[in-house]
């Protein structure tokens, strides 16, 4: 199971829970399972979220694989100037 960490304000949509274990093989699955578990979080996963899998940040990458023992962080999407 991957270790999932919510960064920043996202835990406001999970009743304050910021870390949990989840079974997900891809980012998309992760989002789906998160939305099932925390319906309030769902809309916030649609846009503006970056996913760091074992340290590497991915943006808009539904198909990115998540390893069984991966550490996954959900953080605000990053832009630039």
């Amino acid at each position: 199971m991957a270790r999932v960490v919510l960064v920043g304000n996202l835990k406001q949509f999970t009743g304050g829970i910021a870390e949990f274990d989840l079974e997900a093989a891809t980012v998309r699955q992760l989002f789906q399972r998160l939305a099932e578990r925390y319906p309030a979080l769902g809309p916030h996963l649609e846009e503006g979220i970056a996913v760091a899998i074992d340290g590497a940040i991915h943006q808009d990458a539904w198909l990115e694989p998540i390893g069984a023992a991966s550490e996954v962080h959900l953080l605000p999407q990053i832009g630039g100037g």
Binding site: G8, N9, D54, A56, A61, I78, G80
Partner: protein, 768 residues
């Protein structure tokens, strides 16, 4: 078969890392290059915008009848010409934007929210008529109280910009509206416990003023809409696909109807990632059925296009006697301007990012004020929070009597360090830049009287994103690289270099062309330091596609299996059992026969580039303070930064130098000055003081290369980090020159002189 995506980094590089000629260079030294305002269309009209002179007022009515009657006026648009949009946040250049706000920013609806806010726009046969027409538009306002300052805007009872704005991110949700759009928080560990372990704690508050990106080319575009609704837009922008998306959305058009061509762009630095004139020009052109050209004046650029926010930041850092940081906390409020969306979130994430910290907490507030909506400016958000942190660290080093670079080294983030925003870093170059700084001759050079030296580090994430590239192999074997990121400072050269490298051909055989939006798929803008990173990745992948096709064609020509050939340095050779059986075929040989072997050879890549690597930098600066006038002169400046891999070292150095000098301006002389009437007083280059050539010394550079393992050439992206350290480095240098510190930007002569006076009054001067 050769795999271009992995092979190049392993072999000796021929083009990547060279100071190659830039494809657009000659056009730009001869005046031939066409920028935003340089295109003319037959029958074109001139578009001008009527802007609010009030900082905050309700629009009671707009009467355009007299203006419309003026001979030569062909169209006028107001709020009635743009459909209202529901609240919907979408990712844009810098961060999330809300179309409900965008439609109000391009043309005021219920209220004007800042001086310079567009109220109407006119298209006329010439500029004089257009200007005259603007004077004939009558707008009736109900004047409302305004608020310019972020502290004032946060107070209870402050004039409200948006009566329905409830602060997000606060639990329970507030019941009353305010100017605070959002509260964000990032926390790791336990800061209370951390501060308890500290021997020394530094706690300070810092203030910064808004600064403009200061691109020399004002916003400009020319729009043409035909009777059947097909539209063309020529515009100076960092991202023409983004412009297309916004315009199509705001106007309710199909994306396919609108073709956007990026002109040469005269600087952007993040400021040309949003739309201002573009949807207005298209609306006018549609109404007038003639092309409409719109160019902002410099004054309009200052009053109505996005600066970076002003802010306040409180920093608290605790450390043990030996310099290990035990806890760090920062609270910050950033001005968003008239609509929410300041880069405070990124300010919070970057504040302590260069360091390996157990206990850290950052809190940010996004605050609306009656100023133009902020836009991205180089590492948006980071320079402000990192300025505050890097200044506080310097005071900590002073108090601990530890060399400021050693203090940073002791706490530096490395590969495997958990970033304060969560994930663990891959390979990063913080330690390497600090060590390079320590070993640089600059760091130990002698200082004279009234001189001081300062150092500071900086961090920026860098990004990838959606990127397309096509490589057309021409009939003679030369190649055209088509790419969708506007070239703002030499990216055509770096893309050509990586393409030549990947294909193993001579650089002179590659020409890079920037596509218009109809030629390639969606490509995100040039920003976030992504153009060379992501474009290089896409070009490399497209080259791999070309190589695959070349191999296939050669195999067909030789009538051997495709896997029995190999590609090397621009030639396909028979391999394995067939090795040496046929003479190698060059790209030109294969291209010549392309028609006979299946048609033209074109390689494509359409990717969402992932794996951008953060770039860290450390700056060293020497200043001299004229203690009688408070004037600060920058005597010597060195930028040290991790580039991953410098594809074109000259342009990497140029990014380092340009960022440093923008930072010098931010530190010493640039600021928005508002009067009590809520109007900007210095909307021109005379009094908005950007550094001129005689203000600055040569900027020395050291390129550190800690390759990004996720890029075929090790590229990180380097454009934004250079603006992060200068403000703190200079503040620290002034602090050391005076023996007293300033906590406010810009450190202009009146402020410096005042600090000197206060310090002398206290009898604490100890300049060294």
């Amino acid at each position: 078969m050769a795999e271009a995506t992995t092979a190049p980094a392993k072999r000796k590089l021929k083009w990547v890392g060279k100071r190659a000629p830039r494809p657009d260079g000659v056009d730009k030294v001869t005046g031939r290059a066409k920028f935003g305002a340089d295109l003319f269309m037959s029958g074109q009209l001139v578009g001008k915008v009527l802007r609010s002179t009030l900082p905050h007022a309700r629009i009671k009515s707009i009467d355009i009848s007299k203006a419309l009657a003026l001979p030569g006026v062909k169209a006028i648009v107001t709020r009635d010409d743009f459909q209202d949009m529901a609240s919907e946040f979408v990712p844009a250049g810098e961060m999330m934007i809300n179309y409900k706000d965008v439609v109000r920013n391009i043309m005021a609806r219920e209220k004007v929210l800042y001086e310079g806010h567009p109220v109407a726009a006119v298209a006329a046969t010439n500029a004089a008529v257009a200007r005259q027409a603007l004077k004939l538009i009558k707008v009736e306002y109900e004047v409302l109280p305004h608020v310019i300052d972020v502290d004032e805007a946060m107070k209870p009872g402050a004039p409200l910009l948006h009566e329905d704005m409830i602060t997000q991110g606060v639990e329970p949700a507030p019941t009353k509206p305010s100017n605070v759009a959002k509260r964000v928080q990032f926390a790791v560990g336990d800061i209370e416990a951390g501060f308890k372990k500290a021997d020394v704690i530094v706690e300070r508050e810092y203030h910064t003023q808004p600064v403009h990106q200061g691109y020399i080319e004002p916003h400009a575009c020319i729009a043409s809409v035909s009777e059947d609704g097909q539209a063309d837009l020529w515009v100076t922008t960092q991202g023409h696909y983004v412009v297309r998306a916004h315009c199509a959305r705001l106007l309710g058009w199909d994306i396919s109807k609108l073709r956007v061509t990026a002109s040469e762009i005269g600087g952007g630095f993040g400021g040309k990632t949003v739309v201002y004139l573009e949807p207005v020009a298209l609306a006018l052109a549609k109404k007038a059925q003639r092309p409409v050209k719109m160019v902002m004046t410099r004054e309009e650029v200052f009053r109505a296009s996005g600066p970076a926010p002003g802010a306040w930041v409180k920093v608290k850092i605790g450390a043990t006697k030996d310099g290990r940081i035990t806890a760090a906390e920062a609270t910050m409020a950033y001005q968003a301007g008239a609509f929410q969306g300041s880069p405070v979130q990124m300010g919070c994430m970057c504040a302590f990012a260069p360091y390996d910290l157990e206990n850290v907490k950052t809190v940010g507030f996004d605050v609306v004020t009656n100023r133009p909506k902020v836009a991205a400016y180089r590492a948006p958000g980071a320079p402000i929070s990192e300025y505050a942190v890097e200044c506080a660290l310097d005071e900590l080093a002073d108090q601990l009597k530890i060399d400021p670079l050693d203090l940073r080294l002791k706490n530096a983030a490395k590969e495997g360090t958990r970033a304060v925003y969560g994930p663990k870093f891959g390979p990063i170059g913080m330690v390497e830049t600090l060590e390079a700084a320590k070993n640089h001759a600059h760091y130990t050079a002698k200082l004279g009287p009234n001189q001081g030296r300062g150092v500071a580090s900086g961090f920026w994430f860098n990004i990838g994103g959606e990127t397309c590239a096509s490589i057309n192999v021409n009939e003679d074997g030369t190649v055209s690289l088509i790419i969708g990121t506007p070239d703002i400072g030499g990216s055509r050269a770096s893309h050509a270099q990586m393409t030549a490298e990947s294909l193993g051909i001579d650089l002179s055989k590659v020409r890079t062309i920037i596509a218009d939006t109809s030629m390639l798929g969606y490509t995100f803008l040039t920003g976030g330091s992504r153009a060379t990173f992501a474009g290089g990745m896409a070009a490399n992948q497209a080259a791999g596609d070309v190589i695959k096709q070349l191999c296939s064609r050669a195999a067909k020509i030789w009538e051997i299996p495709e896997d029995a050939v190999a590609y090397e340095d621009g030639f396909v050779k028979p391999a394995g059992a067939n090795a040496g059986k046929f003479p190698a075929l060059s790209i030109a040989d294969i291209a010549k026969k392309a028609g006979k072997t299946g048609g033209p050879i074109v390689g494509h890549a359409q990717i969402n580039a992932q794996g951008a690597g953060p770039s860290l930098g450390t700056h060293i600066v020497d200043v001299e303070v004229d203690k009688e006038t408070g004037r600060v002169s920058v005597l010597r400046y060195t930028v040290i930064q991790d580039a991953g891999k410098a594809v074109h070292p000259s342009y990497v150095e140029g990014q380092f130098q340009g960022g440093a000098v923008q930072g010098i301006g931010w530190a010493l002389s640039e600021e928005y000055i508002y009067g009590a009437d809520g109007r900007m007083q210095n909307a021109g280059f005379l009094d908005y003081r950007m550094p001129v050539a005689s203000d600055v010394p040569m900027i020395d550079t050291v390129i550190v290369e800690v390759p990004n393992p996720r890029h075929p050439y090790g590229v990180r992206g380097i454009g934004e980090t250079p603006i992060v350290p200068p403000m703190a480095a200079i503040a620290n240098a002034i602090g050391h020159a005076l023996g007293t510190r300033l906590y406010e930007l810009p450190m202009s002569p009146p402020k410096v002189l005042k600090a000197i006076g206060q310090n002398e009054a206290k009898g604490q001067g100890r300049g060294h």
